[in-house]
Symmetry: C2
Subunit: 230 residues, 2 copies
Amino acid sequence: PPGKKVLIVYAHQEPKSLNGSLKRVAVEELSKQGCSVTVSDLYAMQFEPRATRNDIVGCLHNSEEFNYGVEAWEAYKRGGLSSDLIEEQKKVQEADLLIFQFPLYWFSMPAIMKGWMDRVLVQGFAHEFPNCYDSGLLKNKLALFSFTTGGSKEMYAKGGISGDIRYLLWPMQHGIMHFCGVKVLAPHICFAPEYVSEEKRKEMLIAWAQRLKTLWKEEPINCSPEWYFK
Amino acid sequence: PPGKKVLIVYAHQEPKSLNGSLKRVAVEELSKQGCSVTVSDLYAMQFEPRATRNDIVGCLHNSEEFNYGVEAWEAYKRGGLSSDLIEEQKKVQEADLLIFQFPLYWFSMPAIMKGWMDRVLVQGFAHEFPNCYDSGLLKNKLALFSFTTGGSKEMYAKGGISGDIRYLLWPMQHGIMHFCGVKVLAPHICFAPEYVSEEKRKEMLIAWAQRLKTLWKEEPINCSPEWYFK
């Protein structure tokens, strides 16, 4: 609805890919609804995935023994994170909804997107013990994982060779988003687009646009082990 | 035992960290046994985690629409992958055992190590349909995930707030290693080393060295949903 802010974190190298199209469809549909949409196009930004000393501007809290988590936390508090991280945190802070759009790489997100999680969601900003899970610092936000797979729906069925697709959503949805207090909408999964017809791929885009029309009425999933492993 | 080859893929920024010590202990103990040990120290190598066009030397198979998986596969077949990848693949090919040593970041490995998986284990080298899972191309190798956590053992218990630690091992052990045919040894987990005494941390190092003494007699886990979600 008008006024809602959406951040799409997008990780695909090729604008002409199905992931590229899914991202475009989301920008168009959500903009049409009056949402304000921001895209972090990670490959285009050449986003840095490595968590290193470069993320800390100025002196270290402990220069004898580098502890990334502690240093990022301390740097966050004094405004001393590198500018690319501050920029991403601003986008997250303003967003009501985070959409992660990517091709599944090895049962997870591509490294460039994992690096976004590792570096952007620092302690102090996204969580700060005991403010985690339901009381995480990003509560009142929503997240949605939208991705394509190489394997087929049958492979990712319960009892299939790759196991229920929900098994692999646990680290991303519960371990990251829920930990930060973010509520999780049902994932949007396009199975094996490389092995279907152009016609079927078009239907995938239409289905995504269709879902987005009523997205704001959706209830979050119950992000507990039962949802994943029942 | 003498003659066995081990590759340690190591992802920590600080040599003085517990991860750094665990890595050193493994090099020492395995070398003492007569193994030949190689370490890929990812941060020191400034290993590139991003899967991009730069990984392909020369012309693309399809320059109209970049598909990383297809391009890496084609490049592998004609010897056209970038030299850093060829180097890592050589190490993997020679190894009998792969040890992954890292701090758990967001229920998974740090992005720099995820990038190693994304970029090194390309189709044609590590798997090639239908050669996946038990018939993956890296069969007859072993893998072991050795990592430290921020959360405590209680948080990662079944029924604990972060869920059974085995839940998060599924993508790494089954989704990556088993998919490539690699047999998986039980993980080695040091829970919350930052919150225990120096004495306790020393015991963690001793326990690791101790386990390594009889590692070659261990049986792999049964890498099926039962092990993870029973």
